[in-house]
Symmetry: D3
Subunit: 334 residues, 6 copies
């Protein structure tokens, strides 16, 4: 198989702080010899652990890009022991389009791992992270939010892993992140995820959901910035103490009945908001017909007790959309 055509314009193993690009040649109608230029910053000081911080895996999720621009600008190499690799806009074409998937190949980057060096643009990006950047790292923090169509309670998350020692290390990093909520997740279908690619290489991995709707707030940006610093401090890469979260809560998404789907198209009338505690059988959303008045609405009832942890964002819904996720309060050990 051919080599990945992506080339960094700065050395990944230099010292100090350098800003550059991952240059991916991309021949197309509007530029026969054009490139995709993915911004990257490397901040290094001496020997030590390596952190890879990524945002923009989905192009319409903004807490990660904001936090990573802030860190790339603000972190002084003198405060670093080891190396921080920052890629705020991982799926750069999607980020520029403000879209979840790449406008070039319609690929969801987070289902494209381990990628292909001779594949589409997104597959090449996935492959470069999988084969070049992740192997360099000890800890990986990948930011997500709900994007334009979902909204989440702000949480950092770890997965249930076969390697319980690795899982414990991930949970510790998640707690260090210090989001208002922490979540334990069992991925039903983890094929192709960046998470899986990182975890299968034995790395400490933190993922997040920090809001959504295709926007960020001052509050969610602040959570994202503090979280990354905390993970870097926890990992011994950045000087300073972890700033613990106050009143953080541990949640669980234990099974398929957490997910609630729309059974018809229409206008979404929410009856419960993010963070609301609900009881099984309680109406949590109503769907009105999009084309007429005077028709009885369809009410969606909670499958289980818990807290609304995610919800459909746009005012219009389509049959089959996930309207809400009800999480449980975590009771066991992670």
């Amino acid at each position: 198989m051919s080599a990945n055509p992506i080339q960094p314009t700065i050395p990944l193993d230099g010292q100090g702080k350098q800003h550059g690009f991952l240059r991916l040649p991309y021949s197309r109608n509007d530029s026969a010899w054009g490139s995709v230029m993915i911004p990257i910053t490397v901040i290094a000081n001496g020997e030590g652990p390596v952190a890879l911080l990524t945002g923009g895996n989905h192009g319409d999720e903004y807490e990660g890009p904001i936090a990573l621009q802030q860190l790339a600008w603000e972190i002084d190499p003198a405060d670093v022991t080891g190396r921080i690799i920052i890629v705020p806009y991982m799926n750069y074409p999607a980020f520029r389009a403000g879209a979840r998937v790449s406008p070039i190949d319609q690929v969801n980057l987070n289902r494209a791992f381990p990628g292909r060096p001779d594949g589409t643009v997104s597959q090449k990006i996935a492959n470069y992270f999988n084969d070049v950047l992740v192997p360099m790292a000890d800890v990986v923090l990948d930011y997500h939010s709900g994007g334009k169509t979902l909204d989440f309670l702000p949480y950092a998350a770890a997965h249930y892993l076969d390697d319980k020692r690795q899982q414990a290390a991930c949970v510790e990093a998640v707690k260090a992140f210090g989001a208002p909520y922490s979540m334990m997740m069992l991925e039903i279908d983890s094929v192709g995820m960046f998470d899986t690619a990182v975890e299968s290489q034995g790395k400490v991995f933190v993922t997040t959901e920090l809001g959504g709707g295709g926007t960020a707030s001052a509050r969610s940006a602040e959570i994202a910035i503090r979280g990354a610093k905390n993970v870097l401090r926890h990992s011994g890469i950045l000087a300073g103490e972890v700033e613990p979260a106050e009143g953080a809560q541990m949640l669980d998404m234990p099974g398929g009945d957490c997910f609630h789907f729309a059974s018809r198209d229409g206008l979404l009338h929410p009856l419960a908001d993010l963070g609301d505690q609900v009881k099984a059988g309680q109406p949590i959303a109503r769907i009105w017909p999009p084309d007429r008045t005077g028709i009885e609405p369809v009410d969606l009832l909670a499958n289980r007790d818990g807290v609304i942890a995610a919800r459909h964002f746009p005012g219009l819904v389509q049959s089959g959309d996930c309207l809400a996720v009800i999480a449980a309060f975590h009771t066991g050990d992670a």
Copy 2:
């Protein structure tokens, strides 16, 4: 000038509750003899004042459509004295597209009044409301929210009018609506607005901004529903007492310096949220470059003291976008 081609499929002057459509013939490639079908409900009981309730003036604002579907379904004609005309999706093509302006003619309905009977689809809709529905009404409530690109503190609003008696009646209706905030507005450029069309016919008019981002929440939907009922009760059309808002605040948008514009394209990093009180000179938002790291961001400073009443919603901004509106607490009489 020719007659407006829109025809209602139900009588507008009937008694009881009837659901139907405003049918607008629209010949196009995919239906030579097609129509735009705008849902309408009329609820009438005896003689009395007439209210016109409208949502979907902009197609990506959802509190109005939700509240009006709920009212069209729930209101019992026996509780009515007079007549309620409900049009939840005024710019129906825009509503179905989830877009601010009509996908048919790219027209912003709220700048298309008084419209034209022989104009584009949006101009015909504007003209029908201007010439047929508004003249029937004593009080008009038109719902707005921020849509996909703006977010607002929830408020109902009245305009400063030349006719101070009319203005006072509008302010009373706004207060009856009972949103968490009430706003006095001086429109710089009111040409073409539905507001202007209604006010110039001497009607009592209430407009709102109840959230935004292209979504609604349980809380904002509740405000919208209660507000309409309050206005109907205040007007003597619906039985029952007005439910007053607790702790409602009166705000003002006194001048052009309330509006803050982006001076470059990029990634929006908010530094203050809706409802936050800010001081003149305080940074309220930061813009990071969309294409590289390591560049100093541009900070946007508050022009004046006040409260953040509106903000740009999407995570990406373009030069010239309004990033924030700072309102003042209203001190004088409305």
Copy 3:
């Protein structure tokens, strides 16, 4: 007002047979100094009446273009007394796009008369016909069919006109055309139609509906070709006898209850076909939901006795589409 910029590349008043274009300058992104080139043929021999034959008023109706290409190719000037002006593809951009309306300005040419010399491309075309070609003519034959979204029984038609002498001349020409059906029509809304533009100049006018669905058949093409020759013979322009239609029937569209509209979106299940005689109250079409099974369909009942003269063509319908037209057998004098 400025002069119409369209220029013919052949003389309109020459003798013999000449083929050329109406050249309309059209500056656009892909050709700064480009043109719309509308094919035209003029066949003239000595002095005599002038016929204007037009097809492609709507770009997805094919009997007219076929018949007029055949005539432009086949007619020998020696058989002509007077002049025949043939424009097979009147709305040429729409014809090339296979669409009802122009892809350039989205204008329905048949609602754009009398047009504007400084308007959009379609408005300029309308204006050139209105101001230059129609005034030259004594008789005008404009071909229509149902296009991609309607299908018709094959008929030629005349309008009820205030000038009964003119109406009688039109009816004679319609009968001469010799379609299987002839139709008397009372246009509710004739504003902007080519028909109205022609009739208001006092011309003998024949219009047709000869099929539809965005196709033509050998049979419908044959009707179109023979019809034009018959009208030309009837007018004394083409040598030979009118070939009368056998068993032709006269129909009427007497009122608004002829038209039957869909009241919901879905899959169209026709229960009666073109030419079928139906009784008031009889189900003529059924609409199944497009998104699920197991829901009772909506049946559309005939408003009146008569014959199915037109129907919605595509398998999917939208609320407000005209599903069927039921015509009556004509009983009075035209």
Copy 4:
């Protein structure tokens, strides 16, 4: 290889009649956690053979969807022995778009078999039918028509198969269907077809072509409904006798010279219609230039004697389009 992600929302092995969906998770820009919801009905009563009835393999062919909606609504489980699985809109995204191929991945479902569980949306659908539904069935009826660009004489068809016993069973089912025509077909290129996927699993298979042009008529819908009932009766699944077709004719498409291709772009002038008997050398269609008059047309001559069984539908043709198929009357044993 991973498991197919499609999940039915109803049990496929239940009793009685149930309506639900095949839910296929589909993450995209406008719904991060969205789904494709393919309607399905299962009607079962006791033990017995299983029929799989499918429409909408191509999304612009309507006789199948109409017939299957009608059957899903009308069939009483008490009349059933065994099980009927009904999927009216197999390529649901294509059906909703009114298009032959899926708007999501541009895939022609009928060339996508056996599909991939980790492929595109269409490939996942193909794989689910191939691996889950077809194995359950004894007899499979897949409806086709010409879609928006072809029109066919109404026929049911069987393929020449290596397993002559299987072929004979298929031919019997085709005859039971009772369309006005029956057809024996030798597929030149059967790779990727649903037909091939079904036949290779040893099932009795009936396919059809029942019209086209992107519409259905009352007559063609009736043929489709009666045909499915006949096949179900013939298979012993539905109570009642097969209603034989009157005057049905057996046709053959014996070779490549049945197909007639356009050799230039232009306006199609048909010279023979569906069902017309033609002689070798006879002109069956004419192509006029789309951009000018006065040019000699190109005539397409019949390659062989026979009956016009299929034709190009749209009024415009492109070089390389199949304009007509001439079938022969079947003389040998099937």
Copy 5:
């Protein structure tokens, strides 16, 4: 009529050098309270004449934007007497799209004058120049090139005007510009042009065509920069001497026979290049069919003697495209 909503962000009557924007509010789906921001630079020093320099009237013509960016950057206010107003990207939305006409309203700005303050975005821009900027100016230089679809010999041009004194002043300014060629033009259809708007206000006006194809070269950029400086020096606004052009030639476009149009679609095979002298009857271009080989090409013959001054640029042509303009050497007095 309402006031033009465009507001400059810098004072137009200040001293020294200031860079800012013309801000045009533009509400749209992706920014409800967005703006079009047209860059502007004002360089002023004391009292003196005023020059208005404009580029990007068509958005795909680059010599003007390059020269004006260079001048806005380079000119020292100390070298100025009077005022220079520079707008490099007049039709800013078209410039950003790399297109001749605005992507917002499809309007050709150079046919939109005098514009409308309440019109489309392009009409508002035209109106602001017509009513605000042009009246401030004594001399106006508007850059053009061929754009993506035409290519020109580099020339500056003046029009034949009724006011011969004004014409002479324009011709002097054109000669001062110092392009390799100068051109006298008689506009057949000058309605809506910026040229006409400026000239009708009695200003000295210079227009240019400096290349084309949607690109610029080092040489054409140099001509553009030197030309503007020369005009400013000629006008007494910029210090220094006019740098005369060496060997400049005066050309004329005396009539409609200068223009040569394509009579069919196809592949363009040029037989003469820009600057070549040709004789009447000489083949200057050949058109090959785009869809087949082995067909005799169509040759385009020169209507007259002269020099090829403009040509169609793209390799594909459409019937009606202007393929070439043949200019004559100017012999009389301008």
Copy 6:
């Protein structure tokens, strides 16, 4: 693997001159049984070597298509010894779209070799050339130019090959072609190129770059026509002597530092033109900001001494675009 579905409509091994098509069945929404028709001409006379001449590998490069149409029309079989296979529009869908890559599958044909018989349209085309046409040939000439986004000095080129005997034969053919420049190229990434597919089959291969910008000139077309004749004469296929180029120069692209990339988006201001000799460190291009004035431009400096052999064509650039290629004068033996 299945057989390639492409079928020629003329015999490839016939005698004399025949014009036809490579017919590739392509089922799609607008033609269920449609085809891609790639024009082909075969000119043969007796036994002898076989040349394959191809243009339109990229659809926006015109010198090849022009030259090959000219040759297909002009060459007399009597002047031939052997066989000439001419395909002017290899990626026919891209050629008709005037685009580099195919509008059907977005595939760059010149990175799709060896293709797949069951792949996308472009992959099928690649596979047919790879498996059928190239094996027939002794010498292959494939025309390229810069297309719409690049411009080149006119040169023919050969690659450095492992087989030095083959390389020498290629170089001889390149010199015979007789372009103003000849180039020796070392492809860094030759995977998927037609060049590689041809060379790996041991053929004599000539490629070219003969201009660009999406146009051709009389001069560049002449070079292309003479070049093909020269190669055919050099190969002994066409009668006559090679016409040597006067003053032809041999260039080299020795390494990655020949390529110069844009480091930001903006307006391109070239400071050196094609053919200009430059020194290392010399500014060769400048980028101005696309959204404001008064910002210092970014200058691009030459990495090395040499001649500008290629440049970015459009007036706007994106970060990562190749702005210029500086070639060296070839000094060693090829």
